[in-house]
Amino acid sequence: MDIDKKITDDLVANDISFVTTVPCKQLAGVIEEIDNRDDIFHIPSNKEDEGMGLCAGAWMGGKRPAIIMQNTAIGVTINTLATLIQYYRMPLPMLISYRGELREPVACQVEMAVHTKALLAQLNIPTYHFHHQKDVEELDMILKYTFMCNKPVAILTDANFWGGYGDQ
């Protein structure tokens, strides 16, 4: 299965046409796939809270948005999630590279990994964890759920899901 294509197909099938990204090595393939699709406007962000602002604007302008980022971004975006996305009740699928989990080679990544689920739980953000490739089968349902309930929803995708990190 081509995970990058499957994820992008699910975004398109759910009418998501505005995607902002802050890169991660694990996400390189899906970002490239999104960039190549004519039916998605891809706008790279310099910082994840900026990206959430872009997504809020796009949503109010009539487009379904999504953000793709690393889990370190949870540390950057807590205020934006609470006072913009949640306070104004906006839907936002967050496809998140879950660094610092099993098969992670960089020790420092673990320092935010250990906080990631706790922070998402503290924010009452529905959270899904993709660990095996077959977990991606739920993405379509998760996207539908996100736009049903108008909430930010986190999809954590770890190194095992992506087939390992680099040469590890």
């Binding site: 109010m60 913009l84 306070y87």
Partner: protein, 184 residues
């Protein structure tokens, strides 16, 4: 002129446009001067007025004006290259630059010292950057709207706030009526 005097003067121009207004006293002033369903008031999230406005402009065709401040742009400086590289000709970023953090007690920002936001916007790649003095804001804004060309306006004015009530409207109501105005 202080910001509230500028907003009073340009309210008739803003009334027909989609406006994403900066957190704090700027939104309180705009709300008190001329509340409109076409105004999106930020109640939190300092720094993102320009990003929200850009996302909105890229998603639909109506003109969008982000009313931002020097302090808020400084806190989200990475917005400038994103704006420069994703040109939306229906987008105007109007930075009311009074050289101070108005909502928190008028502490000075660096734009009152050595830093030029217009220079930073140009260096980021924004092609249509105009610096105007407070008294010239109205004509400059009308020109930017008429030109239909993405514009970054830096409006230099005095620091100071008008005493206005806080916005008590529910955020979901602000969003809902704004989205209806966008799609109307």
């Amino acid at each position: 002129m202080i910001r509230s005097e500028i907003l009073k003067e340009i309210a008739p121009i803003l009334r027909d446009q989609l406006v994403a207004c900066n957190i704090g006293i700027p939104s309180q002033e705009l709300h008190a001067i001329d509340d409109q369903p076409t105004n999106f008031y930020m109640l939190g999230t300092m720094g993102l007025a320009s990003s929200i406005g850009l996302g909105l402009a890229l998603a639909q065709d109506k003109t969008v004006i982000s009313i931002d401040g020097d302090g808020s742009v400084l806190t989200n400086l990475c917005t400038l290259p994103t704006i420069a590289n994703n040109v939306a000709d229906n987008y105007i970023l109007m930075i009311i630059d009074n050289g101070s953090y108005g909502s928190t007690g008028d502490q000075p920002t660096y734009t009152g010292k050595k830093t030029s936001l217009a220079g930073m916007a140009r260096a980021a790649g924004c092609e249509n950057v105009v610096e105007v003095m407070d008294v010239d804001t109205g004509p400059a804004l009308e020109k930017a709207i008429a030109e239909r060309k993405m514009t970054v306006m830096v409006v230099k004015c005095d620091s100071g706030n008008a005493k206005m009530p806080v916005i008590t409207m529910d955020p979901v109501v602000i969003k809902d009526r704004f989205m209806k105005a966008v799609s109307a």
